[in-house]
Amino acid sequence: MTTTETTPASAPVRKQLTIKVFGVGGCGGNVVSQIHGTGFADVQMIVLNTDSQALAQIPLPDKIHLGLKLNGGLGAGGDPERGRAAAEEDEARLRGLCTGVDMVFICAGLGGGTGTGAGPVLARVAKECGALSLAFVTLPFDCEGPKRMRQARQGLEEFKAAADGVVCLPNQKVFKLIDENTSVVETFSTTNELLAQGVRGIWQLVTRPGFINLDFADLCAVVRDRHSESSFATAEATGPHRAKEVVEKLLANPLLEGGAALGEADALLVSLMGGPSLSMAEVNRVMEQINRQTDNAHLIMGAAIEEQLGDRLTVTLVASRQRSHTADVLSDPEPEQLESVAPPGMVSVSRGVAEINQLGAAIARKPVTRSTTAKREADSVSMAGSETDVAPSAPMLSTRSWRSRKKAKAMHPELQLETVTKGPFEHSEPTLRNGVDLDVPTFVRRGMSMN
């Protein structure tokens, strides 16, 4: 008793999180500037570079010169080794920046010297300081040549080893998605915007006031210590068909590789937000569509109403997979494939039953038809709200779970939907001890891999 920390039962207080966004190298600096342009409160943005000229062009107050002694402010010359050495020279400084921080975003363009070499050092230091570290990186254009690509791949592996999660967006892929005549520079800014959206979306997910049902702990459960490559996307839609459209947009997002990222995910975090008109039926519709895309993913869902969203419905999604996906990212999907957002379910064709080095993923296969699943598991699910009729005002929007559950409903066959709950701990305060949420499975917190 003496050592168990508790929070008041009635109002679990959301801890004020300390979050920092770092841009490393030229590309990283540009992405962070872009994020900054869209009004971020309470987040410190810091740009790191070895190149004093590039640094001078960044319109942000917090700029740090890496490896001045080593490189004399002249940049890393496209050599990741020099980027790394520069960061190591200033490691104490980086440590100072990361101390006491809950979460760190690191943006970098892979292929050059600074982002590729110094970025992973920063990720490691952030982790060592106890922060959750998420990296948002780009891969070079094909035209930049094989050397850069090789360096970039190497850097990606290092990021994956150092950070909790890495979201990777190849420039080439974005290039193919937009108009053929677009210039490289314009492509940059599109990519930068996508990355900025990613950072913003996750930031909102964990900080948005009133968003009580998905929190930092949930995010940690999905990404912490997994060293996985994560995909991330956010989409918004309005109008009567917004539940359907928002998912279509989501799946069209290049960050999700046409939905394939969902099929391969072993952990999925979905956050829905809408104005007061958001109904349980819509939440279910969105979740059902997303669920159809996933195979064995551990699903965490949260939904909230936010007055000022009005008619808008936004969905933010983080998909995390353990298996290395680098090769596919580099060689893979042709634009046709990306553009044609196949009807949900068809995407499964491209899913491999890969040897996934992660607990359970290799053992658990979903039964063939959903209805049997629903039927079998129905008796074990008690979910307030799913029993009741779907009212448009639906106040029961706040649920989450370590995994998805199915609920059959005989009277409304169209409502055989995935409904998720926080499970047995939904109505109780979290069991915290020394800041650790003991409700999160021990093996997850211990990062035990099963093979």
């Binding site: 003496t2 551990h298 047995p424």
Partner: protein, 409 residues
């Protein structure tokens, strides 16, 4: 408690645990010689409790009613009042110290002196929203001589008292009380469930030698440390079998009900020979449905159980109790049924571990041998000790007998 079937001299005492997995009521009778026999048990699945605390009063009221009705039938008594166990993450415990100084060293310690030192020891910092659940006397120290059970009549100038105090958030302590009162039952006293369990399991010798009791429930895990015959330390973790089930449900990707079933059928607290073994599960229509790696199942379970015990071990280690626990570790609660749990406890605590049975009471074997009923049965024991004390007060008027011989009060 009015019942014509019972001879005048026996008293009926009822213990009620509103647990996370089940509600259990134990009916006991106290014989003239002071022994306690369990004469009836009532149980019901618990639907409105999480982590040891009531979250749905309506469901819980129904479950309590069912358990009480069954207990009444089983013991053939009418139940009017209960000793009620409480637990939850809001409970806090600490040891306090009180001092009384007399004018001279040859002062004869009187009852008022003892009362003063008692009052003194009860002064400690606690949040205003908390209520003291227990203030348990450990021992007196007179002029530096420790381990005195009753100082009245002894000579000394400085009397000190060590106490173990358990307190909790008042509103949260009241939740189960409200449910019980809503059923027209009186609550005689609230008792920390870990304390109740320990009373069922332990004999005086174990308390004297030093022992750690761990109650592995569905929503909470309570622990109690005895040494030199008194309670030295208590604690509770809001972690239990539900967490094991949830970990499995997440890790093996299956519905919680199925995970709970697998846990009970194939679970263990050791990896054992599970390496490379696979279970084939069948769907409800009898077809092989999916395969589960038994080693993964065990590793997920072991990780949680080991962690839970490690957290307890750290806590009692910080207080320096390890070398005082010569009687080892005694396990109860549903978690005590997990195969190999005693081995795991031995490993984690570095002490011998046994599965406890309710040695301190007689009566129905089915009740005293059931690890899940330790709390309810222990509550009966608690009631018996209390009522004996109260009777003595009536007869002799001496408060000191409340100290009992069982290391409480």
């Amino acid at each position: 408690m009015l019942n014509l079937l019972f001879p005048e001299k026996t008293t009926v005492i009822v213990g009620l645990e509103i647990g996370t997995a089940k509600v259990a009521a134990a009916v006991g009778e106290v014989t003239e010689s002071g022994g306690v026999n369990v004469i009836g048990i009532g149980q019901s699945a618990s639907r409105g409790v999480r982590k040891g605390e009531v979250v749905n009063a309506d469901l819980t009221a129904e479950d309590v009613r069912n358990a009480i009705v069954e207990a009444e039938r089983s013991a053939d008594v009418e139940i009017a009042s209960v000793y009620l166990s409480v637990t939850g993450g809001h409970l806090t415990s600490l040891n306090t110290h009180g001092v009384f100084t007399a004018a001279s060293d040859d002062h004869e310690i009187s009852q008022p002196d003892v009362n003063e030192v008692l009052a003194n020891a009860k002064v400690f910092n606690r949040p205003s929203e908390n209520t003291v659940l227990h203030a348990i006397r450990q021992h007196f120290t007179l002029n530096g001589q420790a381990g005195i059970a009753d100082p009245v009549g002894m000579l000394g100038g400085k009397l000190e008292l060590d106490m173990h105090v358990v307190h909790g958030v008042t509103t949260r302590l009241q939740n189960p009380v409200r449910v019980v009162k809503g059923l027209n039952l009186e609550v005689e006293e609230l008792v920390f469930s870990g304390l109740a369990s320990s009373l069922a399991l332990l004999d005086n010798e174990q308390k004297q030698m030093g022992v750690l009791v761990v109650d592995l429930g569905a929503g909470t895990t309570e622990y109690v440390v005895y040494a030199d015959g008194v309670i030295k330390h208590t604690g509770i973790l809001a972690v239990g079998g539900d967490h094991v089930t949830n970990d499995l449900s997440y890790g093996l990707r299956m519905a919680p009900a199925r995970a709970a079933m697998l846990k009970q059928e194939h679970g263990a607290a050791t990896i054992g020979g599970a390496a490379g073994q696979t279970l084939t599960l069948t769907s409800e229509n009898g077809f092989p449905d999916r395969r589960v790696n038994l080693e993964h199942l065990r590793r997920i379970m072991v990780a949680r159980l080991e962690e839970t015990m490690q957290l307890i071990d750290e806590d009692i280690g910080e207080q320096g109790f390890h070398d005082q626990l010569r009687a080892g570790v005694c396990l109860c609660g549903g978690g005590a049924r997990i195969p190999g749990i005693d081995k795991l406890a031995e490993e984690v605590f570095g002490l011998s571990a046994t599965l406890g049975r309710a040695n301190a009471v007689g009566g129905l074997r089915s009740a005293t041998d059931d690890p899940e009923l330790a709390t309810a049965v222990g509550l009966v024991k608690y009631g018996a000790i209390r009522q004996k004390g109260l009777r003595r007060i009536g007869l002799v008027g001496k408060l000191k007998h409340l100290a009992g011989s069982l290391g409480i009060f």
